[in-house]
């Protein structure tokens, strides 16, 4: 399989439909416009254990995209569901830390897309296929570059309780770039690289 030669560029608008997701395959470049939410360690642990009703969450997650990100927003926003503020740095955080929760979050809240870095594990890969969702890798540490694709902060949830990096932020994005590295058909580019590097490792540690 050679994903490099078959790379497509696709514009995605949120919320995503199951059809949008099924059309994507690993190696595709996407540009996302619309609204996405951030969620990382504490948001995932909370959704997994507390299972808040969809109406308790101020943002509609159905068909939504969760971005594994703890942005820097200025000025510091303290109130709940406040708009305003500017995102000055917002790259992805390591997705693997929420591996134990993600499959359940996708299922319970109708999530169609995950943005992060470094890829996720077999449990999430199976959930992507079962429920129709896609994992989008974006550039690690490109925080200023990516922040320029975020046009505004439409709201925030759990800012006081979880702290600014860990709150759920609702962000307006325009042409936010990412690459499909795990699709809804059971394919993972991360696993492909891991498999390749394992073969090379075996040769070097004999």
């Amino acid at each position: 399989m050679n994903t490099r030669d078959t790379r497509n560029t696709i514009n995605l608008n949120t919320p995503l439909t199951k059809e949008d997701v099924l059309n994507l395959k690993i190696g595709d470049m996407v540009f996302i416009s619309g609204r996405i939410v951030t969620g990382r360690d504490r948001v995932h642990k909370f959704l997994f254990h507390e299972r808040p009703d969809k109406k308790e969450i101020p943002f509609d997650l159905e068909g939504g995209i969760i971005y594994h990100c703890g942005p820097i927003i200025t000025p510091s926003l303290k109130g709940e569901e406040v708009g305003g503020g500017k995102v000055i740095a917002a790259g992805p955080t390591t997705s693997m830390r929420v591996e134990m929760y993600e499959a359940d979050v996708i299922k319970s809240y109708g999530i169609r897309g995950i943005i992060g870095k470094g890829g996720m594990g077999d449990k999430t890969l199976a959930a992507l296929k079962e429920y129709g969702c896609v994992y989008l890798h974006t550039i690690s540490g490109a925080a200023a570059y990516l922040a320029d694709r975020i046009k505004g902060v439409a709201g925030g949830w759990k800012i006081e309780e979880f702290g600014e990096p860990e709150a759920m932020w609702l962000l307006d994005v325009e042409d936010f770039p990412a690459m499909v590295t795990m699709d809804a058909h059971g394919n993972s580019l991360h696993r492909e690289i891991e498999r390749l590097s394992f073969e090379r490792l075996k040769e070097m540690v004999k």
């Binding site: 955080t93 690690s140 490109a142 200023a144 320029d148 990096p165 059971g186 991360h190 690289i193 490792l201």
Partner: protein
């Protein structure tokens, strides 16, 4: 001390918004060598992010990290006073740079909002014969910090991998386990580092700089491996035997093919730096510290 405080605030700003020239140079070299389109594309964005952050004075990464200070204090200056000055500078820099507030109380779960707390920032202080006070600051990203490993040699490393090479089966499992003997010698050290990098894959923002320490106490080795990340990419290890093994390990890491962003490619690491401390006959620790590509460090001489 007021001037020192302002100097440290400036140091925070410089370290958060720009990367050292030797690191940038190494990344540019890696970019020009790269043949994988995915890795090259990622490196291109990384390099434009570096110049964008510098020209707009914004943090390179939203994770402005765990601040780690290595300070050399001339005789006669109070260490306590220096420490208090660092803490005050941290509070001001958090608002001014701005830095992301990263200090979370273990008991209450509350973020202190100013990057200060118990052992946060981490401050190592030594006395120096020099007249100048030297403040080295590292802003240590947590994604790469989480990949750090400590090994106790000799050990039998179990490494798990996927065995299916030809087809990309959706339900493939890591059902291929190999056992690697890591003994008390440099080859054992090399195997440990390769194990750590293999397990890290692209999770901590490669191309990495890898700090390694060999020693005889757990905290001695951890401290030393992190300290190696303060070394310039182009420097030479004062010990020739260690230089040789640094180069060998770097070459092997880059043979793994993980690449920038972990999507395959030539450069998984831009440097391997090894330090050593004397060990107890019963112990042989190998500690591996990772820095992401954004190895943010800087020095203030006061």
């Amino acid at each position: 001390m007021l001037k020192l405080r302002d100097g440290i605030i400036e140091l925070y700003k410089k370290v958060a918004t720009s990367i050292p020239s030797d690191v940038e140079e190494a990344l540019k070299n890696a970019y020009s060598r790269e043949t994988s389109p995915l890795a090259k594309g990622s490196m291109e964005i990384i390099l434009s992010n570096i110049s964008l952050a510098r020209t707009t004075s914004r943090p390179i990464c939203q994770d402005t990290g765990f601040p780690v200070f290595f300070i050399k204090v001339p005789k006669g200056i109070s260490h306590q006073l220096v420490k208090e000055t660092v803490i005050e500078a941290t509070r001001i820099a958090t608002k001014k740079v701005p830095l992301r507030p990263n200090a979370v109380d273990i008991v209450t779960g509350k973020n202190t909002s100013d990057n200060t707390g118990d052992y946060f920032p981490l401050i190592y202080m030594d006395e120096t014969e020099d007249q100048s006070l030297i403040v080295d600051l590292m802003l240590k990203g947590a994604g790469c910090e989480n990949l750090g490993q400590t090994y106790k040699l000799p050990t039998e490393l179990k490494v798990e991998g996927y065995s299916v090479m030809e087809s990309n089966l959706p339900n493939a499992e890591r059902n291929n386990t190999i056992t690697v003997l890591a003994e008390r010698d440099f080859d054992g050290v090399r195997k440990c580092v390769l194990d750590a990098v293999f397990k890290a894959q692209g999770k901590g923002c490669p191309p990495y700089t890898i700090g390694v320490a060999i020693g005889g106490a757990k905290d001695q080795a951890t401290f030393l491996s992190k300290r190696q990340l303060m070394r310039r990419i182009t420097d030479n290890n004062p010990d020739n035997a260690l230089t040789e093994i640094e180069q060998k390990i770097l070459k092997d890491i880059n043979s793994l093919g993980i690449g920038a962003a972990g999507l395959g490619g030539e450069t998984t690491a831009i440097g391997v730096k090894i330090g050593a401390g004397h060990r107890h006959p019963a112990s042989y620790f190998v500690d591996v510290s990772f820095s992401c590509w954004a190895n943010r460090r800087g020095r203030l001489i006061w």
